[in-house]
Symmetry: C2
DNA sequence: CTGAAAGCGCTTACAG
DNA sequence: CTGAAAGCGCTTACAG
């Protein structure tokens, strides 16, 4: 396991380092005979080209960095898995940037690009993690980047997501079609763009149906199960309880159901509960959770594909690309009680 | 955003590149005055040292690679999150190697070390992803590495995990204490070391209690919910049904419960169900799942800590380190029916 | 406290 | 089809 370099291989094979390099990067340019000779040496000594040397020279690290709030969230994990596959088969490795929602960490990971440690960014949050010069167009200041799932408020960024407004609207439309009129919403944190979009869809649907908005029915959660429980308890204390609760993610919906059941309510007979995401466990809670399915695989693969294109130097039109969501009707929603 | 290098900064600040380098790596060696002068220039032009240059020179990439079967599995995700935190605060970045259980991918990611793209390996599977020379000791052929969660059959590897034998045994002991005698086991795939260890614990507990092993009660699953359902259906077809089912992970336990309930059985009155892992959702299924808790955070942080030590050149004693498991008694287990 | 110089391991026009 | 040479951006003994 000595540490042989390209020069050593060249010497052993009686060729120049340039030729050894070509054996890897452009074998067609090397004569069959030389190729075999060099390959034999490489095999014998187990030579592995040092990527750092190549990276320094080509100014390409071969890495991309994925910046996500929390890998523990099944939505993120599903997306990351797809990204990893796509990156791998294109010869890229992915650096995991789990930020726990902290802006400084988002910046830390985005900085990997300016330090040459990564060639592009997959960004799953709603801030641009750079200091940008407002006098210049964003586009020319940005490294190769795709913003997934979340929404950055700029037309100059390549974005991939579900249409959260439409998705939330269709969820509420469905509840309305079941006769519900008092429909509560448990949102995510209000600095999360996708949550605000879902809220927009919720309000839009109610307005269109001529149902007045009631701010008491609009609670801010933080996307964890416990927060669903808390909000459910607040909702039950209301003089006029909701007959349906739309949660902006499945975890909170699971919390809501758990709390309602603990209090002796029957879901969906007394109160309907609806989630968002369609995580794997949504099917397996009792009753099974009606929710909005997000195509995690497709989101991930589209993101990496668009980033890879940029990395190849192709032009990728900035702007949003919507992927289809799907309403999954299951057991947690039902007709509004009389 | 021009691409200035260390030489440019040196020129602008009227110092040598060596001094600029020291401003980052050894500021104590630089006089206050020079330090400020250089820092000012760095700030003004927004200089970011190129990591590839440094890496090539120091032969340290600053990356570690985490090799895991599936990031979508909550157990892995929890561990990875802890790893990421530890790595980050030590100045390392983590490359995500999601292998989908494929040996070739394990090797691909392990190879990043021989290519200088990573300095160490966190390995969460039960194969050594290198060609090793059986004549030499493993120890001297291995890069800095920690084997987490899974078990590689060698005393020369640093390993961190729960004692799966003891954990499974204590789970079964508990079921036995509830009066169960026909206890089924739904294992993981038989090439997974931790699954085999759990099986060992299961068998040990039964033997100690003088209960004869019944191979009909021992089914191989593959750790997904659907596989729990399949196995449950096989178990129900048995002339002598089990009164308790121990699943080697929570996902399969969730599948088992779902299937039993669909068939009209009451958990735990008719049949008790026990899981392993204590994923977040274990608390929230109905009934809540009795299971063996694994300390994901601690597993992850211990792994990264031990790797970091090796990376610093400290000697880490090879061998296994056990982290404490904990039986979580919840609603899915109860007294054996008469 | 500071600088000149060598070199980490590659790749790539360029010339032949 | 092949090689000599320059250089990517750093760091680090060494000397002063």
């Amino acid at each position: 396991m000595a540490n042989l370099g390209i020069k050593d291989i060249a010497a052993l094979a009686n060729v120049s380092p340039a030729t050894v390099s070509r054996v890897f990067s452009a074998p067609d340019m090397v004569s069959k005979k030389t190729l075999n000779k060099v390959k034999k040496v490489i095999d014998e000594v187990g030579y592995r080209p040092n990527r750092m040397g190549a990276s320094l020279r080509t100014r390409k690290s071969g890495n991309i960095v994925a910046i996500i709030p929390d890998i523990t969230n099944p939505v993120n994990a599903g997306i990351i898995r797809a990204i990893e596959q796509g990156a791998q088969s294109a010869g890229y490795s992915v650096l995991l940037g789990d930020t726990q929602g902290l802006e400084e960490r988002e910046q830390h990971y985005a900085d990997l690009v300016s330090h040459g440690q990564a060639d592009g960014i997959l960004l799953f949050c709603s801030r641009i993690p750079f200091k940008t010069d407002p006098n210049k167009s964003l586009l020319e200041q940005l490294p190769p980047m795709v913003n997934g799932n979340e929404r950055i408020d700029s037309d100059e960024v390549v974005q991939v997501a579900v249409d959260n407004v439409a998705a939330a609207k269709s969820a509420i439309d469905y509840l309305i079609s079941l006769g519900h009129k008092r429909i509560a919403a448990i949102t995510g944190p209000d600095d999360i763009a996708s949550s605000n979009e879902r809220l927009e869809g919720y309000q839009l649907a109610l307005k269109e149906a001529g149902i007045e908005l009631d701010s008491a029915l609009q609670l801010e959660g933080d996307y964890v199960v416990e927060s669903g429980m808390d909000c459910a308890s607040q909702l039950l204390l209301l003089p006029q309880r909701p007959t349906a609760i739309f949660c902006f993610n499945d975890d909170m919906a699971i919390g809501v159901m758990k709390f309602l059941q603990k209090q002796g309510f029957v879901v969906p007979d007394d109160i309907s509960v609806m989630g968002f995401d369609d995580i794997n466990y949504a099917k397996y809670v009792t009753p099974s959770l009606t929710t909005v399915h997000q195509p995690l695989n497709e989101i991930g693969s589209t993101c990496i594909e668009l980033l890879l294109k940029q990395l190849k130097g192709q032009v990728v039109e900035p702007g949003r690309r919507y992927l289809p969501f799907e309403l999954k009707l299951r057991g947690s929603t039902g007709k509004a009680p009389k």
